[in-house]
Amino acid sequence: MADARGRGRDVFIVCNNVEEMGGVQQWAHGLARLMSGRGHRVILVGITRAQVPHDFGGPYGEARPYKVEHLHETWTLPALPWRPRTFRARADVRARLRDGRRAAAVRRGAERLSELFAGARPGGVVIVAQVWAMEWVDLARTRGLRVVGMCHESYQASRRSSRYARVRELYAGADRMLALTAEDADAWARDGMANADHMPNALHVRPGSVPAEREPVVVCVGRLAHEKGVDLAIEAWAAIAERHPEWRLRLYGTGPREDDLRAQAARLGVAGSVEFAGVTADVPGALGRASVFALPSRQEGLPMALLEAMAAGLPAVAFDCAPGVRDLVADGRNGLLVRAGDTAAFAAELERLITDPALRARLGGEAPRAVRRFDPEAVLDRWEWLFGLLHRGLPPLTVPPPAAPRGATAPALGMDPVRDDRLDL
C-alpha cells in the first residue's frame, strides 16, 4: 500500500533545462534538495543541456543529494511541433521533413525518459515543471507513476502567451495540474481544467533575520525585461528622486532591455540616482542592505524576489499584477499594493515609505510573518500530502474514459485567449 511506503518515493522533476540560470531551475534544484532531505529519491531531468552550465551547488558547495539527467545533449530542431495553417504552409516539404526529424528526436528523448521511469519503484511521481517538457513525458511510459504538471506563472500571464493553448492541451491528461496560488488554480478550473490545484514555491531563506545596517536604497531584483516592468520603476522614481537626493534606486539583474533602461534613466534625469548593480549571487545580502523593496512587474507568478524581500523584513511596494502578489502582500499590513501600471500611485507609495521610517518598520516587521507559510517544511508537507492522495487506494483500473458525446467539449467559461506573438517556453 502506497501510504505505508510514505517516505522514500521516486520523484522525477522534469524541466526544459536544469543547467541554465533561471527562476525555474533554481526552484527545481531547491525542491530536489528539499525532497532528498525527506528521504525521497529525486532525479532531476532536463530535456536539453545548457552551453555553459550554472552551478546549482548547495549553500556551502556540498555535493548534490540527487541525480541529474539529460535527454538531449543539444536541441537545434524547432522548439514546437509544426502546425501548418495555410495550404501553402502544408505544401512546405522542408518543414515537413524537419518536423519528422523533430518527432523522431522527441521519441528518442521520450524513450530515454521511459528508461529512467522504468527504474522507479511503485508510488513514484513525475513533476513536469514546464509545459514544453510535457510533450516528452506524454510520450514516455508512465505506468505506475502519477504525473503532475506545473505552471510557474499566473493564469493571466499564460493566457496572454502561446503557452495557454499548450497548457490546456498537454496538461489536460495530467493527474494534477498545479498553479502557484489558489486564485490561479481557480481560474484554471473555471476555464475547464478539472485537475487544477495549487502548490506554492518554497522559500529558501529563513524569515525574520534582522539586518544590522540599512542603506537609503530602494531595491528591485529581476531580469531587465519588459514583463518585469523596471521601466515603470524608473518612471516612478523620476517623479520623486529630486526630493530625496540621498536615496538610490538599485536594480539587480541583467537582461535585454538594459540599454533602453539606462537611456530612460538618463532622459528622465535620474541617471545619478539609479544604480545598475548587475547580477548578484548574494540576493539575501543585497536585500538586507536596502530599506525598501519595489516590485514593478507587469506579469508574475509567485515572485520569489518579493518572497525573499519580505522574509528579509523589507517593506515592499508592488503592482497588483497577479494573484501571486496579492497572495503575499496584504495592503497596508505587510506591504503596499498599487493598481497595476499606475506609476503615479507607485511613486506616491514609495515616497510614503521613504519619508516614514515608522511605517517602514511596521510593514517590514510584519512581512516575515506573512511568508512563513512558504517555509520549506510546510511546502514539503503539502507535496507529500499530494503524493499520498495521488497514490491512495488501488491503482485505477484501465478503463477507457467515457466517450464524450458529440458536441460536448470542455467548457471554456472564460474569455477568449489574448495571444501574444512571442513564443515563450
Binding site: M1, D3, R160, D175, R176, A182, E183, A185, D186, A187, A189, R190, G192, A194, N195, D197, H226, L232, R298, Q299, F319, D320, R326, D331, L336, V338, R339, A340, G341, D342, T343, A345, A348, E349, W385, L386, L389, L390, H391, R392, G393, L394, P395, P396, L397, V399, P400, P401, P402, A403, P405, R406, G407, A408, A410, P411, L413, G414, D420, R422
Partner: protein
C-alpha cells in the same frame, strides 16, 4: 490494503441499460484510486440489472450491485439504499444517465481534507444533447472560486444549487445526522440538499467541474425532472417546499426561508408558467388551485426581494390572473421578449398593466420603471401582435390583426411599412412575403395583408408541412420582427383554410390550415383534401419509419448540416475583419489613390458629429470639389445625404479607405490597417484631456510589449494632429505618442461656439429643429447634464445606468424654471424617467453635442471634455462629481482589481474648475438655484479656463484645416 475506500459512488439506475456503463466507467476511471461503486437498480425491466451484475462480477471489491425488489418511482429509495451499503469515508451520487469528471473524486477528497468540510460541492455542467449540443454550467456564480463556509447561514446563496449529485458527503455525517431522501415525493433533492446544507458543520465549494448532467433533446423519454407538465410534480414540489420551510423553522433560519422563497419566485414558478400557455383550461384551473394558496402564503417581503418580472408573475398568480402571470413569466425568460402587458403610466412611473394596480401592494410590485422598458429601442421590444380575423373570398384571403403600441412608442405620424411572412419551419430561408398595410387604431396598430397563397406559396409537399406566420413591421426604418399570436383560442382565424398548390401535386395537400402553436402563435399546416392523399401519406409514413430510410435520411441531414457549417465557416473566414485587413494591406492599398477622395469617420462610425462633421461642412460650404465618404456603424440615419455612406467594416469601407487621399477622423481607423504615404491622415481627436490618455493610462503602461506596439503603430499613422492649446501638447501628444505634425488650429466643432450660429443658416436651422424636437421653447433655463464615460465591470460601458441624482426632486424643485437635457457619453446609455419629461429629457440620441451646447444655458458635467468646449461660451458650469461606488468584480473573475490608485487626471479639477465642484445632490441643486451667483463668482475663472484650454479656438478652425489641406497650393501631409 486499506479497509475502507475513500469515496463510495452511489449510481442509481432505472431502465437505463444503455447509459449505465458510461456512468459506471466514469466512476471507475477516477484519478483517485480508492473509489468503490454501488449500483442500485430500481427494479428495472430492461437488462439494467444484468448490466450492473456484469460490472460487479468484472470488478470484485470495487463494484457492488443491488436490486430493489420493486420499483420505487423516484430517486429517494435507491439513493438511501446506496448510502446504507456504502463503505467509503465519503459518498457521492451519480445518476445512470450522467457522468463524473475524471478528477471529481480527487478534487472533492482533496478539498475535504484541506478544509475538514462535511460537504464539498463542485460545479455541475448541463450538457444538452441533440442537434443543438451545448453546455451550460449550473449556477456558475456560486462556483467562481473556492470557498469554505462554516455554516450555510453565512452564504445562503448556496441554496440555489439544490442538486444532490455534484456534492461529496462525509458518510458518517449523513448517518449521524440521519440525512435521508424522502421516498414518496419527487424533488427529493431539494429537501435533502436543504437539510444537508443546514446540518453541515463546514461546507467547501470548489470551482472545478465535477459532474456532467446530460440533457436529452427529445422529450420521448422524459426523465423525472423533465416531467414538469404533470400536476403531480407541482403538488410534490409545493409539498417539498412546505417541508423545507419546516426544516428552516426548526433551525431558526428565517433568512434562509426568505432566500428560498425568493428563489421559488425567481426560478421554480417561472418553469411552470413557461409551458402553461399550451395547456388546456382544465389544467390551468388545477394549476391555479395548487399554486395560488402557496403563493398567497409567501411572506410579504418575498415579492419585493425577487426580481421584478418573476415577482409580477407570482403576484398575478396570487390574484388568480393566470394570463397576466404567463405574460410576465415569458417576458422574464426571453431575450427579446414579447410585450403582452399593456404598460401604463402614472405620475411619472411606468406600471405593468392597469388591472391589479390598486389591489394590495400592486403599485409597488408592478412598478417597472427601473427596467427601462419604456426606453428600450423599439427593435429590442416585441409588442404583442394578434391576428383578429382571417377572411377568405374565393382564392384570396385577408389577414387582419392588431399590434400593441406600449406607451404610444409608435407615434401617430410614424411611417409604417411591412409585410406578413410565411416561413417553412424546417427550411427557414424559404419564405413568402405579402405586403401589409398599417393604421393606428385606438391604442394599437392594425395591420392587414392579402394572403394570395394559391399563387404565391408553393410548398413542395410532404417534406414541408409547417409554415409559421410572422409580421415584419418597419417603424421609421426600425425593423421589428413579430410572431403573430392568436387571441381567444384563435376564433375567427383557425377555421379558415387557405388554398395552396404543392409542387408534388394535390396528392400532397390542397390547403394550409391555420392552427395555434404551443406558444400560442399562428402557424399553418399543409393538409390534403383528396381521397388519394391519406393512403399515400400513410404509405410514405410507413416508408419514413423504415430503418433503411431513416438511416439514409439521417445521413442526408448530416451531410447537409456539415455542408452548411462549412459554408458558414468559409463565409465567416472571408468576411472576418482579419481577412479584410490582410486584403487591405496586401491588395487594396496597391490600387491607385483617387485624388480628392476623403473618408470621414466620427467616434468609430457611431455618429455624424464632432470635428469631422464641421470640416466636412466647411468643405461643402467652400465648394471644394471632393468625393466624400462617411463611415457609419449600425444605421446610416442622420448621416449626410450628399456623401457616399459606407458601413464601417464592410468591403466598401476598406475599399474607400484604401483609395482615399485623406482620412479624417477623431478616434482611430481600424488598428492593423497600414496607411500608405500617398494618403494623408488628419487626426482631429475628440476633445482635450482631463482623464489620462494612452501611455499615461495604467492599463496601457501595464500592457504587453506587443499590445503597446500595436497602439504605437496605430498612432504613428497620423500625419497631422489637431491641437487647441499648449495643454494638448503637454498631455495628449506625449500621452498618445503622437509623432505627426501638430496643427494648432483649434477644433472645427468649436467654431460655432466662438462665433455663434449667426451667418450659418444651416446651423441655425439645425438649432431650430432641435429646439422644437426637444420642446425648449417655453423660456425655461436649459440645463445640459453631460457626464463622461462610466465604466462598469471589466471596463465596459454601463449598459443602463440611472441618474446619479433624484430626477423627481429636480422636477419638483426646479422644474418650474429649468429643464434638464441628459446626454450620457456616447458609449453609455442612461435611463431617463419617462414620466418626468416635462422637466428631464433624454438627449442621448442626438449625435452632435455642439448644437446642444449652444442651446444649453448651463452645463452640469463631471470630467467630460465638453467642459473645455463649453467654457468658450462663457456660461455657468457646475461640476457634479458624486463618489463612485465600489466596482463589482468583472464577469468571469472572482476578484475586483485592488491596489491603491492615483486620482487619474491631468490636473486638479477642484483647483482649476471654472465653476463649483459639488459632490452631493443638495449642493448640486443649491448651485442650480443660484445660477447668477455661479455666473458672477466664476467669471474670472471661466475666462482663464477658456484662454488656457481653448488658446487656438478662434472660430476659424474649419477654414484653417480646409485651407491647409484643400486650399490652393496646399501642402499635402
Amino acid at each position: 490494503m486499506r479497509v475502507r475506500p475513500d469515496v463510495s459512488v452511489v449510481v442509481i439506475a432505472y431502465n437505463d441499460a444503455g447509459r449505465l456503463p458510461r456512468a459506471v466507467r466514469s466512476a471507475l476511471g477516477q484519478t483517485l484510486g480508492g473509489v468503490e461503486v454501488v449500483i442500485v437498480d430500481d427494479a428495472s425491466t430492461d437488462g439494467t440489472g444484468e448490466a450492473a451484475d456484469r460490472f460487479a462480477a468484472a470488478h470484485p471489491g470495487r463494484v457492488r450491485a443491488v436490486h430493489l425488489p420493486e420499483n420505487s418511482g423516484g430517486c429517494g429509495r435507491p439513493r438511501n439504499t446506496g448510502v446504507e451499503l456504502a463503505r467509503g469515508d465519503r459518498v457521492m451520487f451519480l445518476d445512470s444517465d450522467d457522468v463524473l469528471d475524471r478528477h471529481a473524486c480527487l478534487t472533492m477528497v482533496a478539498a475535504a481534507e484541506e478544509t475538514g468540510a462535511d460537504l464539498v460541492s463542485g460545479l455541475c455542467v448541463r450538457s444538452h444533447l441533440g442537434p443543438k449540443a451545448r453546455e451550460t454550467p449550473w449556477y456558475p456564480r456560486l462556483y467562481r472560486r473556492r470557498a469554505v463556509h462554516d455554516s450555510v447561514l453565512d452564504h445562503p446563496d448556496l441554496l440555489y444549487d439544490t442538486l444532490s449529485t455534484n456534492k461529496c458527503y462525509r458518510r458518517d455525517f449523513l448517518l449521524d445526522r440521519g440525512l435521508r431522501f424522502v421516498e414518496d415525493l419527487h424533488y427529493e433533492d431539494l429537501l435533502f440538499s436543504a437539510e444537508a446544507y443546514l446540518a453541515a458543520d463546514r461546507i467547501a465549494v470548489v470551482p472545478h467541474r465535477v459532474y456532467t448532467w446530460y440533457v436529452e433533446a427529445d422529450a420521448d423519454r422524459p426523465s423525472i425532472s423533465n416531467r414538469r407538465r404533470e400536476l403531480r410534480n407541482l403538488a410534490d414540489r409545493l409539498e417539498i417546499h412546505r417541508r423545507i420551510d419546516r426544516v428552516f423553522r426548526a433551525h431558526g433560519a428565517a433568512d434562509l426561508k426568505a432566500a428560498k422563497d425568493v428563489k421559488f419566485v425567481n426560478h421554480d414558478l417561472l418553469l411552470y408558467l413557461d409551458d402553461l400557455r399550451a395547456r388546456d383550461e382544465e389544467y390551468r384551473r388545477r394549476f391555479l388551485e395548487l399554486a395560488r394558496p402557496y403563493v398567497a402564503g409567501l411572506d410579504p417581503g418575498t415579492l419585493a426581494a425577487a426580481r421584478r418580472l418573476p415577482a409580477i408573475a407570482a403576484y398575478m398568480v396570487g390574484r388568480g390572473d393566470l394570463e397576466g402571470a404567463i405574460s410576465a413569466a415569458e417576458f422574464a425568460r426571453k431575450k427579446i421578449p414579447e410585450l403582452r402587458a399593456e404598460l401604463v403610466e402614472h405620475e411619472g412611473r411606468v406600471y405593468w398593466g392597469e388591472r391589479h394596480l390598486r389591489d394590495g401592494p400592486g403599485r409597488e410590485i408592478l412598478d417597472v420603471t427601473a427596467l427601462g422598458i419604456h426606453a428600450r429601442p423599439l427593435t429590442e421590444l416585441r409588442p404583442a401582435t394578434t391576428a383578429t380575423a382571417l377572411r377568405r373570398a374565393g382564392r384570396r384571403a385577408r389577414l387582419t390583426g392588431l399590434v400593441a403600441n406600449p406607451l404610444g412608442r409608435v407615434p401617430a405620424g410614424a411611417r409604417l411599412r411591412g409585410e406578413v411572412e410565411l416561413r417553412d419551419r424546417r427550411h427557414r430561408r424559404r419564405t413568402v412575403r405579402f405586403p401589409a398595410e398599417f393604421a393606428h387604431r385606438g391604442d394599437a396598430i392594425e395591420f392587414r395583408a392579402g394572403l394570395d397563397t394559391a399563387r404565391r406559396v408553393r410548398p413542395i409537399g410532404l417534406v414541408d408541412p409547417l409554415w409559421d406566420a410572422r409580421l415584419i413591421m418597419r417603424v421609421n426604418g426600425d425593423r421589428l420582427v413579430l410572431r403573430i399570436g392568436l387571441a381567444g383560442g384563435g376564433a375567427g382565424v383557425t377555421g379558415v383554410p387557405l388554398p395552396v398548390r404543392p409542387r408534388l401535386t394535390r396528392l400532397a395537400g390542397t390547403r394550409l390550415r391555420p392552427y395555434e402553436t404551443e406558444a400560442g402563435n399562428l402557424s399553418f399546416v399543409l393538409e390534403g383534401g383528396g381521397l388519394l392523399t391519406e393512403p399515400f401519406k400513410a404509405a410514405l409514413r410507413a416508408l419514413r419509419h423504415s430503418p433503411a430510410f431513416r438511416r439514409a435520411w439521417r445521413g442526408l441531414r448530416r451531410a447537409e448540416r456539415s455542408a452548411r457549417s462549412l459554408r458558414a465557416a468559409l463565409r465567416r473566414r472571408l468576411t472576418a475583419r482579419k481577412t479584410k485587413i490582410a486584403v487591405f494591406n496586401r491588395v487594396l492599398s496597391r490600387l491607385p489613390v483617387r485624388k480628392g477622395t476623403v473618408v470621414f469617420e466620427s467616434h468609430l462610425g457611431k455618429q455624424y458629429s464632432d470635428n469631422p462633421k464641421y470640416i466636412y461642412r466647411e468643405l461643402r460650404r467652400a465648394g471644394v470639389p471632393v468625393r466624400a465618404y462617411w463611415s457609419y456603424e449600425g444605421s446610416p440615419k442622420g448621416f449626410p445625404k450628399d456623401a457616399a455612406l459606407v458601413r464601417r467594416g464592410s468591403w466598401a469601407y476598406f475599399r474607400a479607405l484604401a483609395r482615399a487621399e485623406f482620412w479624417i477622423d477623431n478616434q482611430g481607423f481600424p488598428e492593423g490597417l497600414r496607411k500608405r504615404k500617398a494618403t494623408t491622415y488628419l487626426q482631429t481627436w475628440h476633445g482635450s484631456a482631463y482623464k489620462l490618455m494612452g501611455f499615461d493610462q495604467p492599463a496601457l503602461k501595464n500592457a504587453t510589449r506587443a499590445e503597446q506596439q500595436r497602439f504605437r503603430r496605430a498612432v504613428e499613422r497620423y500625419d497631422c494632429f489637431l491641437v487647441r492649446s499648449a495643454h494638448d501638447e503637454r498631455t495628449l501628444v506625449p500621452g498618445l505618442g503622437v509623432t505627426a505634425e501638430l496643427l494648432p488650429a483649434g477644433y472645427p466643432r468649436n467654431d460655432p461656439l466662438v462665433r455663434g450660429s449667426g451667418g450659418d443658416p444651416e446651423l441655425a436651422r439645425e438649432l431650430a429643429d432641435l429646439r422644437r424636437e426637444l420642446g425648449l421653447d417655453d423660456g425655461r433655463t436649459v440645463v445640459l447634464y453631460a457626464p463622461t464615460f462610466r465604466g462598469g465591470p471589466g471596463g465596459r460601458p454601463v449598459a443602463r445606468a440611472g441618474l446619479p441624482f433624484d430626477a423627481a426632486r429636480f422636477a419638483a424643485e426646479l422644474g418650474g424654471e429649468q429643464i434638464m437635457l441628459v446626454r450620457p457619453h456616447y458609449l453609455c446609455r442612461t435611463v431617463v424617467p419617462r414620466g418626468l419629461r416635462h422637466a428631464v429629457r433624454a438627449a442621448g440620441h442626438i449625435a452632435d453635442v455642439t448644437p446642444l451646447l449652444l442651446l444649453a444655458d448651463v452645463l452640469v458635467t463631471d470630467y467630460s471634455s465638453v467642459m473645455f468646449d463649453y467654457a468658450l461660451l462663457d456660461r455657468p458650469m457646475i461640476f457634479y462629481t458624486p463618489p463612485e461606488p465600489e466596482p463589482a468584480p468583472p464577469p468571469g473573475r472572482a476578484w475586483a482589481p485592488r491596489g491603491r490608485e492615483s486620482p487619474g487626471g491631468y490636473f486638479d479639477l477642484a483647483a482649476h474648475a471654472p465653476g463649483p465642484v459639488v459632490e452631493d445632490e443638495d449642493a448640486l441643486f443649491g448651485a442650480l438655484c443660484n445660477l447668477d451667483a455661479v455666473r458672477d463668482d466664476y467669471a474670472g475663472a471661466r475666462h482663464a479656463f477658456a484662454d488656457r484650454y481653448g488658446e487656438h479656438d478662434q472660430g476659424t478652425a474649419a477654414a484653417a484645416v480646409v485651407g491647409r489641406f484643400f486650399g490652393k497650393g496646399a501642402r499635402r501631409g
